[in-house]
């Protein structure tokens, strides 16, 4: 498939807002108009605090685009895991963040109904997709987390206007259990018609379970994969995931992070 090379930008973006939205989870808003205009759901950016001589941590960190908003705003939703995200979390409004993006191939929804399935921080890119899908077209969003406190931004998902179903492992919100339970039910309801297209992002076991459910009903599925990314821009070749054929590798930052489920090797260890 040949596509005109999408625009990518590398800039020092001012922080407009930065707030914790759940224990250990932050929402970061920067001003990056070029990125906001070019961004497609499922794409990501490579971020680092702007500091001229900073050499350690050396690499930027990949974060999905959570949503874009008026005024050139690009919003990220992320959990503080290690040094890189901890340093980002310390950036205050007015500080600068180096943003390189938008990167990668995002979700390509078709004409029919879509079911978005997200777990853990995998919900981050799904809001952007949900907001770009028109309401009233039979789309549905299924989100899961360990507990209610780790489902930030539910109000925005609701505002996107699609059917919203939630599962928490401890039952503190929505159904008790995993998203796959809810998904099974949804797919049963839709049985007999063409069936929706599925779009999933989340931990590897969740993706595998969604893929099994999709394969059983022969539904198309696109998944967003995560690998370690040194560059995020297609230069280092580090972000390899095996092809199902056993011949060679995909590169998640340029052929992905969104892949057709059939292009993914499901036997391989989690990336």
């Amino acid at each position: 498939m040949t596509v005109a090379a999408p625009a990518r930008f590398d800039l020092d973006a001012p922080v407009l807002d930065h707030r914790p939205v759940a224990p250990g989870i932050h929402e970061l808003t920067v001003e990056a108009p070029g990125v906001a205009a070019a961004a497609r759901p499922g794409q990501f950016c490579m971020l680092a605090p702007a500091a001229a001589d900073a050499r350690d941590p050396l690499l930027r960190r990949p974060l999905s685009i959570h949503r874009v908003a008026d005024g050139g705003r690009v919003v990220f939703l992320y959990r503080v895991v290690g040094r890189g995200t901890a340093l980002l979390a310390a950036r205050r409004p007015g500080d600068l963040v180096r943003v390189l993006g938008p990167l990668g191939r995002g979700f390509t929804p078709g004409a029919g109904p879509a079911v978005l399935v997200g777990g853990g921080m995998g919900i981050a890119p799904l809001l952007f997709l949900a907001e770009r899908l028109p309401a009233g077209h039979g789309h549905a969003v299924v989100l899961g987390a360990r507990t209610a406190a780790e489902l930030p931004g539910l109000d925005r998902f609701e505002a996107a206007g699609h059917r919203l179903l939630v599962a928490t492992e401890d039952g503190s919100l929505g159904e008790k259990g995993l998203v796959t339970g809810i998904l099974e039910g949804l797919l049963e309801e839709a049985a007999g018609g063409d069936g929706p297209a599925l779009f999933a992002c989340g931990p590897w076991p969740m993706l595998r379970a969604v893929r099994e459910a999709a394969a059983a009903k022969r539904l198309p599925l696109q998944v967003s994969l995560e690998t370690r990314m040194a560059c995020g821009v297609g230069l280092c070749l580090g972000c390899a995931v095996p092809r199902p054929s056993g011949e060679g590798y995909h590169h998640v930052c340029r052929e992905g992070p969104v892949f057709d489920a059939e292009a993914v090797s499901w036997e391989a260890p989690p990336p």
Binding site: D10, G234, L235, C239, A240
Partner: protein, 302 residues
């Protein structure tokens, strides 16, 4: 005040300025054409190519280290034919000189690559990566043995009149010995360093962090070792030395020029900030101009 002239001669290779993009960090050029002005850099050293395509190593292939990056990409590349057919046509249209980095497991491989590139239009030089395992010698890298390094150099020298730059491995007791051997075997220049052999540990899993256990260390962490080797080699051979290793700013590049490099390559820094090489060129120009110096060579410490 004179305007500095940034042009440098690397043997028969003339560069408009002394800054190149290092192999493995700039793809085949087109991958970063939207982020970097490839008409502004002095040269592009393409991702190393082998006769046949290579798929590379299983993941994990990269891990961050203190001020550095460990990589075990595994020389993944599209192979010579696809390079000639699909990559070179786009690469040669930029103003930057095109240096093709070649790799193999036997001297004959290197020679075959060089011969085909010699005939291909648009190639300005070859850079010979001798940090690859010498299959006939039990897998030790060519670049760790002066005789093996010389054999590869001679094999390439015989089949091409293109400028031949031999890229040295730092994982040796005496890099000047290797440098002298490849100079005697006909290299027009040497470039150093390639990556330092290193390792990282995944503590949670209690095993190596890379699938291949070892990987190559690059980035600011290695700069002191690279500078030392550039100093040593530039005083051991008569051919020009291209300095590589942790350059992330104009100041870093200028340090390599002081140490004896005639030109420099920017590698890992491009992965972190694609615009680095262009900033380095601007910084070198500004630095020379501010001090009334006319050329990069003026910085070299006697």
């Amino acid at each position: 005040m004179k305007t500095p002239n940034l042009a440098v001669e690397i043997g028969p290779l003339r560069l408009e300025n002394p800054v190149l993009l290092a192999s493995g960090t700039c793809g085949y050029g087109a991958e970063l054409a939207d982020l970097v002005d490839l008409d502004a850099v002095g040269g592009i050293v393409a991702k190393g190519i082998s006769l046949e395509p290579m798929p590379g190593n299983p993941p994990p292939r990269t891990v961050e280290t203190p001020c550095g990056l460990l990589n075990a990409i595994g020389l993944e590349n599209v192979g010579l034919q696809a390079f000639l057919d699909e990559k070179l046509p786009r690469l040669r249209r930029f103003r930057a000189r095109v240096i093709v980095n070649i790799l193999g497991s036997r001297p004959e491989d290197y020679a075959a690559l060089a011969e085909r590139l010699d005939g291909a239009g648009g190639v300005d030089a070859v850079e010979v990566n001798i940090s690859c395992p010498n299959v006939k010698a039990g897998g030790a890298a060519f670049g760790t043995d002066p005789a093996a390094a010389a054999a590869v150099t001679r094999a390439v020298r015989r089949v091409t009149r293109l400028p031949v730059i031999v890229k040295l491995s730092p994982n040796v007791t005496d890099v000047t010995e290797i440098a002298r051997a490849v100079e005697a075997a006909g290299a027009d220049a040497v470039s150093l360093i390639n990556t330092l052999l290193g390792m990282a540990v995944d503590l949670e899993a209690r095993r190596p962090a890379l699938s291949t256990v070892f990987g190559g260390l690059s980035g600011p962490a290695v700069k002191p070792v690279a500078l030392r080797m550039v100093w040593q080699v530039s005083r051991a051979v008569g051919i020009p030395v291209i300095g590589i290793g942790g350059i992330a700013s104009a100041r870093d590049a200028l340090e390599f020029l002081v140490a004896g490099a005639a030109a420099v390559q920017v590698g890992t820094a491009t992965l972190v900030r694609p615009g680095t090489a262009v900033e380095v060129i601007r910084g070198i120009r500004d630095y020379l101009a501010a001090r009334g110096l006319s050329a990069p060579a003026d910085l070299r410490c006697p």
